[in-house]
Point group: C3
Chain length 137, copies 3
């Protein structure tokens, strides 16, 4: 379910791949996402048809190693879970891709179970919740 | 109003175009979107500067025919309407673009009327609601 | 904090850059975003691997000068602030990039403080709120 977009500068697709794995492994480790629940759009911007902008907001020194990670997922994760997620993304981005933690920018947008169709034209999460609901009297 | 991003693999822009029409027609048919209320970003990723990742989560076999459809729209649609929407997107993706329903992944993110400016620097939906509000006593 | 995606047609990266500045300056002027709080993904679509679709919905004549601006930010801005923001984006898009206001399409998606990590693996906004909370009895 998490649907993840990762945007970086440059043309290094190996780095992009490593960042995708970093984010996914962090989701699995910290908030219980199943290992095969992986849906990502990975984009490298080389300046020819687009680019990224950033600044040193909040005193964090950023450079062209910047990584934008935008995660859409269902609501329900606690603040502590999200904080663990951010920490682990930063750790694994460094371990897998050599990206410094200062350059890892993450934002989360939440929606609900009925807002997902994971194939075959059905709303799998909403159907599952309906099926698991209270039995009729 | 719906703002739609569609991401696919490959370089087949005809398929991408067909998928855009499939999603739009499904929005019109199932949740009452006006035919000319069409705002889409269509992107094909050929591996050179980005790619898509996916897995067989929930037992759905996916392959490089994967289509990510991310819809932003105002809140207010019922679960039944969304389920009809997903079903129809999958049907039309197959009919128009030859995409198998198992490869059609959809996620919806909702916001409110005041979160849209459809041109000319104004918030058309919020303005309309204000104008249609209760008359002053 | 605002995380902004801008999508245009064509290959004019100077125009894309000017649009990025227009949106950022409008955010600073109208809703109090700090000048160095700038995080943007700018993409030009040249038709080869993707494109934009649009129509004349609500009687607004659009053409290939269309600009899609998608802003993710924390909740809390008032409708009046958002309306000022849209107005100013349209004004500055014209001033900086020669884009006609009719072609400026903006949508806002909101989340919460804990949904942001602006580097170093921490949730800066949530941490700040926690630190500023009521002292223990």
């Amino acid at each position: 379910m998490p649907f993840v977009r990762i945007d970086v500068l440059g043309t290094d697709t190996d780095r992009l791949d490593a960042l995708g794995r970093a984010v996914h492994d962090a989701l699995v480790e910290t908030i219980g996402i199943p290992p095969d629940d992986r849906f990502q759009v990975l984009t490298a911007h080389d300046g020819g048809r687009g680019t990224l902008r950033y600044d040193d907001y909040l005193g964090v020194r950023r450079d062209d190693g910047i990584v934008y990670v935008a995660i859409t997922m269902r609501s329900g994760r606690t603040p502590a879970q999200k904080q663990a997620l951010y920490r682990r993304i930063a750790e694994l981005a460094e371990e897998y891709a050599g990206t410094e933690p200062r350059n890892v920018f993450v934002t989360v947008t939440e929606n609900e179970s009925v807002d997902w169709s994971l194939g075959n034209g059905v709303a799998q999460y909403a159907d599952a919740e309906g099926a698991a609901g209270p039995a009729p009297l």
